[in-house]
Symmetry: C2
Subunit: 235 residues, 2 copies
């Protein structure tokens, strides 16, 4: 059974990948005409908050965290982007600097599309325009959800919820039916949940004792999503 029947996963996912999949072949070709591919190693940074963009990025394969660092150096993950998603278009469209930084969570293949090609495609393609407006508006809903979660939910509730959401993203790495392994450092999980690493570890131990999940080294295998959904206490 898919998670969609029991949890509104679409409210936590940007659906950026639909921008390209719905684009007519000729519009897509125009956008991709000068793209350059590159492999990024785990932990490598794609762009830095506060710098000016020179193009957009397309995740051909891999996972990317979008995050902000606060004054005290603490990291907050805003969103985890997956294979097929675009990155970095906010800065270009807002005619401003990057609002966040992006770093790869696992070995990834990422394409770069120059600014001029993106802006040119935007002028030419009615579909690209419409899809960007739709995606950005949907992102608003996702961020509003996240904001409300961080402001109002306990660490335990937030961790349960983020485990549900992040697990969906790791499904892409595993065959259907096979147990999904979440391979994320406790540090990154803490950045995602908005708490200290120690708290993540403590709650994970609780969940493990309750038979909700098991761990294989750092990897997390969720055994009872329904219990996580209950704990997340999300309408």
């Amino acid at each position: 059974m898919s998670i969609k029947g029991i949890f509104p996963i679409d409210k936590w996912d940007f659906e950026t990948d639909s921008i390209l999949t719905d684009l007519p072949a000729e519009d897509l070709a125009l956008l991709m005409v000068n793209k350059t591919e590159r492999n990024y190693k785990k932990g490598e940074i794609i762009f830095w908050e506060g710098t000016y963009p020179s193009g957009i990025f397309f995740i051909q394969n891999g996972k990317v965290k979008k995050y902000k660092l606060d004054k005290d150096g603490r990291e907050q993950i805003i969103y985890v982007a997956n294979t097929g998603e675009l990155l970095g278009y906010h800065a270009l469209l807002a005619e401003d600097r990057y609002p966040d930084s992006a770093a790869v969570l696992e070995e990834s293949k990422i394409a770069f599309i120059p600014k001029t090609d993106f802006l040119h495609s935007l002028q030419q393609s009615v579909v690209l325009n419409r899809k960007l407006l739709k995606t950005l508006s949907h992102e608003f809903a996702v961020l509003a959800n996240s904001l409300s979660m961080f402001a109002r939910k306990s660490v335990r509730e937030r961790l349960a919820l983020q485990l549900i959401v992040i697990r969906e993203k790791y499904k892409i790495n595993f065959q259907a039916g096979m147990p999904v392994e979440i391979n994320m450092s406790r540090e990154d999980l803490a950045s995602l949940v908005g708490t200290a690493r120690e708290n993540v570890v403590r709650v994970l131990t609780e969940f493990k004792q309750d038979g909700i999940l098991e761990t294989k080294g750092r990897k997390i295998i969720v055994q009872d999503v329904n219990r996580l959904i209950e704990i997340a206490n999300y309408k």
Copy 2:
């Protein structure tokens, strides 16, 4: 001295008002052709989260809170929109339900623009398209900031920051040079800061004792913005 030299207020403001101010007269006329105006009393609701949109709204005069209610009925304010701003376009552009609710914070005059007119203007006006893309991308940056603040800052820091931001919105109600009065219930302030009413009251009392602000009944007059900026501890 304007706040802009000492605090990056643009990172906390949607700038939605620029959508209409930058629109060519003919595009604006097309958009406004069937608009209907209405006065809303304090507390009245404009639209509800989860319902389908039939148009967009324009705040001709007043202030509107955009908020979400969680499972336990607790309110989280996502954003406070001011005179000149548009409301409700996210749902139409995402072809989805409203992601949040909207209610007026003070007596307001609000215009309704039917869905068909908005979508028709979108097809006709290149400028409207571009401005919406720009505004939505900027909103992403604002929400990412807020998200990070809620996840990482203390109640004291959050209240200091929100007082700075909300005070700018109340400037519109007062003559330049006159002391700005923030006229917001402690309940609404708590919804904005993401905490309980009692905590807002306690921190406000502290700020009052430190000479950072004074109160006139429920109204808050900030006397030392620089101290608030220090306390907010925002880079």
